[in-house]
Every structure is written in structure tokens, then in C-alpha cells.
Subunit: 210 residues, 2 copies
């Protein structure tokens, strides 16, 4: 006989299914909800239903949107000549927090990973190539496509694949720098990162550009 | 202009209101929900509504329940002569995981804290004293009431207050042991804990009882 009543057990279970939430945290969250005013639980429940009912993919960049185009694609103040390709919509948020990029995005929704059976056709790769070719056909090819996939095996493979396909149809294809993270420590960096940091070295004047 | 559409922002906000969930984790959870099948979001939403609609307090021990009595109070196999008093319903779960206590519980829903304006009247103290007095009146007083409030200032104050009130109406009033946690390190223990560990020392035979 369980000491926890069924609705409580069900909420613990639902919380524990979230990524990074272990069984103890799920219990803590559930008991917090039991103690908190009904409005808080209802607000979370309503927000959960709303994202599934109202949120769709932007038809241009495939970020999350509520209309055919997302706020970034609709923003007339952004640079149409630069496109940043990322694996995940969360990566857009991370880059936006920096305010260092004012162009457009393209969200692939994953990376090529033959081991997991994920080929380019499972990602928004076709749509990216179409965007580049359309821009070229309009006589306004992208001046630069920045490949900002993760510096992992899958992200690098995806970047290489895309670079090959985009070559000749856009002004330049670039890859974000891999190296020692700011505040990091050479002593603790792995060999591959150190090699990348050396390979990516720039003259001092150039490196302190911004 | 926000780069995140409104339903997404609202879910991030709702997640971030949960204890121990920072803004970045809230984002991660929200984007997980956006990617996961609709059933997962709906299950969590339904479970949230259900706990607020169906869960009440047990009229005897004030743990969470769906009927007038909770599963532990309804369990005929438990020891009616021993009562364990805890601050929080989560403490019941923690103690139940040990399987070391087979008596009944009483959940105070907090601890006495004059600085926060929380006196005994804000807790389930009256109900605890009534339980003890009722049992005494029936000629079956509790053989032991274990005060398992936290070893914090508030928990200790609560335990002292309850011990005074219960004295004479129950067989014995005991307090859980305070000392070095198992696997802990004397070197890193604070002075108060060390003093408690010394004060609570027992003869070797007794201490290795179980």
C-alpha cells in the first residue's frame, strides 16, 4: 500500500518525466504545488496546454512561432544578408542574449547523426538550402551563412555537410570559433579543444576587434 | 520586441516560479515541452489540476489525502501507540523510505517561528494535542511521541514547546538524534552538531543495536 495518494503520485511521476528532474526534485515540486495557491498550479497547467495548442513552427526559420512568421523573421530591423544556422531553438535564445548577431536564423531541429539514424532529411536542411537558393535566384544571395551547430561530432558533421551544399550559392560560409571558453583554463582543456584553439589563432589586433 | 512568442514566455515564467528552477532551467523545460508529444504536456497539466481539486488534508494526521483519512491512518497494520511528529508532509515520505518507523504520523505544516510571525495557532498543534488527549481519555495514551521536527532553531523551539504540552499525557516524548550524518566527516561538522554528537553518545553495544 502506497503512502502517497494517487493524484500526488501521478504529479510526482509527471514532473519526474521532465529532463533533469530526478524523483526527489519531482517530489519537492509536487509538494510545493500542494501547498501553493490553486492559481499557481492552474497557471502552469494553462501555460502547458497553450504552448501545445498555439505554438507552431515559423515557416521561414523553423523557430517556434504563433503565426506563419516568428518575431525575428518579422523584425524589419534585422540584417537580411546574414543567416545563422543552429541546431536548436534554445540556441537562438542563447545567441540573442549576446546581442552580437543581428541577422536572421535557421533552426535545423537537430544534427546529422548516422548512428541515431538521423540524416539530413529528418532535419530542416532542405528548407535551409531552399532559402539560400531562393535568395540567390532573387539576386540577393546571403552574404554570409554562419554555421553555429554545436562543436560535437554530430554538429561538426552537420556543418561540413551544409558547407558543401551551400558553397557557390552564398557569399561566404563560416563556422563559429572553437577554443578555450572565456574564464576557462588551458590546463583543464581537452586536447581537441586545444588543437582548435591553436588552429583558430588570430593576430592580436584582429582578435581584440570586439 | 521579444524574440520569444507569448505562450512560450508564459510557460517559461510559470516554470521559473517553481522552487529551485532558475530561468535557464525554466527555458530548458519549456523547450522540452514544445518538442515532446502533446500527451506529455497534457498529462502534467491534468495532474496539476487534479492535485488541487482532489487532494485534501487527512483529518487525523494532516498529511495529504483524497478521503477523510490518508493511506497511513487507514492502514490497520501500523502501531497505534507510537506517533511521529514532523514539520512537513515530505518528511513523512523521507521517514517512510527508511521503513524504520511503523507507527502513525502527525504533520504540523511548519514550525514555530516568532520572527516570521508563526505561532502554534498557525500550525496543526491544537490538533496534535487533541489527538494525544483523546487517546489518553480513551485509556490508550500514546506510548511514545517522537518529535522529528528539523534540528533548526525553529524545529528545536517547536519540539521544546510540544514536549512541554505533551508531558504527562503520553508515555514518553522523545527527540530524534542530532549528530554526524552517516558518511560524514567530523572535520567538516559545525561545532553545534559536534556538541550534539558528543551529548548524544551511547555505549557501543547500544549504538550498534540496529
Amino acid at each position: 500500500m502506497s503512502v502517497v495518494v494517487e493524484p500526488v503520485a501521478r504529479l510526482i511521476e509527471a514532473f519526474a518525466r521532465l529532463p533533469g528532474i530526478g524523483p526527489k526534485t519531482a517530489q519537492r515540486l509536487t509538494y510545493h504545488m500542494l501547498r501553493s495557491p490553486e492559481g499557481e498550479a492552474r497557471a502552469l497547467a494553462t501555460a502547458l496546454i497553450a504552448v501545445k495548442e498555439d505554438v507552431v513552427f515559423c515557416t521561414s526559420c523553423f523557430n517556434f512561432s504563433i503565426g506563419p512568421l516568428c518575431p525575428i523573421c518579422l523584425d524589419p530591423g534585422r540584417d537580411d544578408t546574414r543567416l545563422c544556422v543552429v541546431e536548436d531553438a534554445l540556441d537562438v535564445l542563447a545567441l540573442e542574449r549576446t546581442s552580437a548577431f543581428r541577422g536572421r536564423y535557421h533552426v535545423l531541429h537537430g544534427a546529422i547523426s548516422p548512428i541515431d539514424g538521423i540524416g539530413p532529411e529528418r532535419l530542416r536542411v532542405r528548407e535551409l538550402l531552399d532559402r539560400a537558393l531562393d535568395a540567390e535566384a532573387r539576386g540577393e544571395p546571403f552574404a554570409e551563412v554562419i554555421l553555429a551547430t554545436n562543436p560535437t561530432l554530430e554538429g561538426e558533421a552537420t556543418a561540413l555537410y551544409l558547407a558543401e551544399r551551400l558553397a557557390g550559392h552564398v557569399g561566404a560560409v563560416t563556422r563559429i570559433a572553437r577554443g578555450i571558453p572565456v574564464g576557462g583554463d588551458l590546463e583543464y582543456a581537452d586536447e581537441v579543444t586545444l588543437v582548435r584553439a591553436l588552429q583558430g589563432r588570430r593576430s592580436i589586433e584582429e582578435a581584440s576587434d570586439r
